[in-house]
Every structure is written in C-alpha cells, then in structure tokens.
C-alpha cells in the first residue's frame, strides 16, 4: 500500500525546490512570524499575494495544493463567520492565517518530509518536537493501514455505517482496538530504540549545503517581512 501526504511533489524542479531545506524553512518562518503580527488589512492582503506568488513559483499543482489546504481553509472560513456573528472584524485574521497556511504548505510540500524534519532539527527546533514529527510521519501510515484492514473486516461481516447506536458502538470499539495496538506498538518501538542505543537524541545524518541562492532567499524574505510592517505602519 502506497501512501503520500504533503510531500508528493518533492521532486519538481522549481526555485523553491532547489533551495537548501534549512534556508527555505528559515525564510518562510521569518515571513510567517512577520505576517501573523500584522495589524492592517492592506498589508495582510499584500502578504497573501506574496504567499500565492511563492505557491506559483513552486510549480506545485494548484489542484493538489487546494486538496491539501482545503480543511485548513474550511476551518478558517468557519472561524471567519463565527467572528463576524460576534461583531469582530475578522478579515485581517482570515488573510493572515491563509497566508501563513499557504507559506507553510509551500515549505513542507517542496522537500521530502524526512528532509524537512532534519532541516528543522538542524535549525534548532526543539528535539522533542522533531522526534514527535518524525514518529508521527512514520506511524501515521501504519495506523492508516490497520484502520483500513479493520474497515475491510467489518465490510466482510456485512457492516453498514448508519446513524444508530450499533454503528457508533462498533466504531468506538475499532478506535479502542487501534489505541491498544498503538500502545503495544509504542512499547515495542521503544524496546527496538533502546536496543539500538537510543538515549534521547534521534541520530540523523544530513547532507545540506548552503549556496548564494539560499542566502538570497533569506535576504528577500527578511526584506519582505520588514516591508509588510513598514507598509502597515504607514497606513
């Protein structure tokens, strides 16, 4: 069974793809931090334009981008409506959040996920966080396969999903069974790690090289990040 998530198009050949993953993450994180602190609609609009431009430069298929971002966007739109109902002015929030979401998507969709994790580790992200990301990415597919197998087993026993107590009860039991399996697996994985000499640090090798292009990207990101705030202040 083959599963792909956000890094399905890591192999494309764009300016963003060619960046050193560390430089890419640093540049994009600078932009994200700058954007979430904006307090002006015009500057937020510009930030959204920059984010969409980066998405276009990355050459990621727009349909794929929409598929990956749709749940985040639905959540933001729902939040937008709720905030409107309660008399807030949510447009700024919506623009900023959408920009940040698109930027982070571009960062993680243009490198293999394992490479992004290594890059996060190298730029000084908390060790615990990178380990959680690493294991989540490894085991999410294992659990997805187990869930798929259980679903097939249910279908083989003529189970049909309905809105009744029996359906909820059955699904609850499946989830419980997955939890128990996860717990047992976690124990075995930890044992395997100890047998490989694990003492708290994930041993990872990486072969990253910074070039002029990478420094240029960080410099442009920094320039844009400052510019957004200057524009916001001038408005």
């Amino acid at each position: 069974m083959k599963h792909h998530l956000i890094d399905r198009y890591y192999y494309l050949d764009s300016f963003i793809h060619k960046l050193d993953p560390r430089a890419k993450l640093i540049g994009i994180l600078i932009l994200v931090f700058s954007i979430v602190l904006l307090k002006n609609v015009f500057a937020s609009m510009l930030a959204l334009i920059v984010s969409l431009t980066l998405l276009l430069i990355s050459r990621l298929p727009l349909r794929f981008a929409f598929e990956q971002l749709k749940y985040g966007l639905i959540f933001l739109l729902a939040l937008f409506v709720i905030m409107m109902i309660f008399g807030h002015k949510p447009l700024e929030m919506l623009l900023r959040a959408m920009s940040a979401l698109i930027l982070l998507f571009v960062a993680f969709a243009t490198s293999r996920f394992d490479v992004s994790i290594k890059a996060l580790d190298r730029i000084g992200f908390p060790n615990k966080l990178t380990q959680i990301l690493m294991f989540s990415y490894r085991y999410i597919f294992v659990f997805a396969e187990e869930y798929e197998k259980l679903s097939i087993a249910l279908r083989m026993k003529s189970f049909e999903r309905k809105t009744n107590i029996f359906t909820f009860d059955t699904i609850a039991k499946i989830i419980a069974s997955l939890f128990i399996r996860s717990y047992e697996r976690a124990e075995n994985v930890y044992r395997a790690m100890v047998l490989k000499g694990y003492k708290g640090n994930p041993g990872m090798l990486s072969d990253f090289r910074l070039t002029l292009r990478d420094f240029l990207f960080i410099a442009i990101s920094l320039y844009l990040a400052i510019s957004f705030h200057v524009i916001s202040w001038m408005q």
């Binding site: 490894r138 490989k196 090798l205």
Partner: protein
C-alpha cells in the same frame, strides 16, 4: 566457548509464569532454533537475553554476566530482530534507520558503514525509501540489516520467516547462513520447522526447556513434538515412515534416497 549461558532463568508477567527455571548453553558460532507453540515464552526469553526484561536467574554472554554490560556494549554483543518489522523500522527512511544504531554507538564512519550493509543485503535501491512504501519481505530484510549493521556477536531472530513469500523466505535463510558463516552466533525463535531443520541445535521451549538436541534427535520424536503443539517437516515424516535416516536438507535427502535405492533390500522397497 559458550556464547550464551543461562542458569535457572524464570520470568513472570504479573502472576503468570512465562519462563520457569530455564538452564541451557548456546555455543559460539552455532545456529540454534527455539521451537515452541504460541505463548511458550520464546519472545520473553529473547527480551531477557538482550537485557530489556530482567527475570530471576543468571544470564552470561561470553562468560560475563549480562548485568556487567552497559547498554552500548550489550547492543554490540547481542541484538534482536523483532517479529514485526514495523516495530523496528521507526525512522523516516531506510538509510536513517540503518544509521540510527551506528550513530548511537558512536561510529565515525556511519555513512560508509550504511552503504556497506546496503550492499551486503542487496538493498541499495531501497536506500532513500520510506518504510511504509516497502513490501513486508523488504521491511524484514531492512530490519535485519539495521540490526546487523551494529555487528552484534549474537543475533536473535524472532519468527524471521513468518508471513514471507517463498522467494523472500529463501533469501532470508541465505542471509542467516551467510551471517553465521561470517562468525555470528544466531538464535532463532520459530514455528518454521523446515528452518529449524537447517540449524545446528534445536530446543523445544514450552515455558520450560522440554528437549534440546540436534535437529535429527528432536524431529525423530514425533510424539514429543505433538505434545508441544508442534509438527515435524513433511520430509522428516516421510523419511521416518520409510525407516530412513532423517535428512537436514534436500541434498542430503537425495543422497539418502539414492543410496537406499541402490543398496536397500528390494523386497521391502517402497514405491517412491
């Protein structure tokens, strides 16, 4: 020299005894198979041997008490491949997984060592693959490679041939034999009696050591096997029925049959 010496080892999960007073030795450089039904304590025994679980009794590796080893030393002396490779391949790529143990053990030339092991196991093409994109047979091979990369003197394999297709199974048996030829002591917990037939020694474990001996000694006692939820390989049963010596592989079987047909009594010659 004894690679493993176990004296009066007992282990219990809460109030259920899983291992009861085990005493046995395993010689250096041998392949030993441990046979037993489900729940016989094979995996628990392995976890005790690698120092993950601590039961009552004494375990010595190459004459030294297991409690005197630190974790790093122990990982280089004895290591274990789990039954389910998904439990053992926890890093994002095959390369990272093989490198993980080497980095933790403090090797400087990790990359070179990983490349060497990839070549040895003929899995260079899997180098940058995600474990969830591998077949079960490939996962099993990578799991073994990731443990062998640490070059332990004793390798414990928990059900190595379970759920493998015939080709992957044969490949794995070849790997086990090659590792043993290179001097690694190998202990296999298995239900696969065909695999056990190819080892130097066989032990039947059912919470206690029921019997220990050469494959021929163990598999000639069909009643004992049945009593312990096991069965002899088809080829062994056939040869026992024919009243012939038990072969350990196909070549030996051919030799025995040929010699039987040439010099055996014609009157009692069975129809083969």
């Amino acid at each position: 020299m004894d690679a493993i010496a176990v004296r009066n080892l007992s282990y219990a999960y809460e109030d259920r005894n899983v291992l009861e007073n085990l005493t046995f030795n395993i010689k250096e450089g041998q392949i030993t198979s441990i046979l037993g039904p489900n729940g016989a304590g094979k995996t628990t025994l392995f976890l005790n041997l690698v120092g993950i679980l601590r039961g009552r009794g004494i375990i010595k590796l190459f004459g030294r008490d297991i409690r005197e080893y630190d974790r790093r030393e122990l990982s280089k002396t004895i290591n274990m491949v789990f039954q389910n490779p998904d439990d053992q391949l926890f890093m994002p790529t095959v390369f990272d997984d093989i490198a993980f143990g080497l980095i933790n053990l403090g090797y400087d030339d990790v990359e070179k060592r990983v490349e060497r092991i990839l070549k040895k196991f003929e899995i260079e093409h899997l180098r940058d693959r995600y474990p969830h994109h591998l077949s079960f047979g490939e996962k099993k091979k990578v799991a073994i490679a990731s443990v062998v990369s640490m070059n332990p003197r004793i390798l414990l394999l928990d059900e190595p041939t379970a759920n493998l297709d015939p080709v992957s199974r044969e490949e794995l048996i070849k790997i086990i034999k090659d590792l043993n030829r290179d001097g690694m002591t190998i202990v296999i917990a298995t239900h696969d009696t065909e695999l056990a037939l190819k080892s130097d020694r066989v032990m039947i474990l059912n919470r206690k050591i029921i019997k220990e001996g050469t494959p021929k000694e163990i598999f000639s006692d069909l009643t004992l096997l049945k009593e312990n939820g096991l069965d002899a390989p088809q080829i062994v049963k056939l040869f026992i029925k024919l009243g012939l010596e038990i072969p350990t592989d196909e070549e030996e079987a051919v030799k025995i049959i040929k010699s039987y047909l040439n010099i055996g009594p014609t009157s009692s010659k069975p129809c083969l």
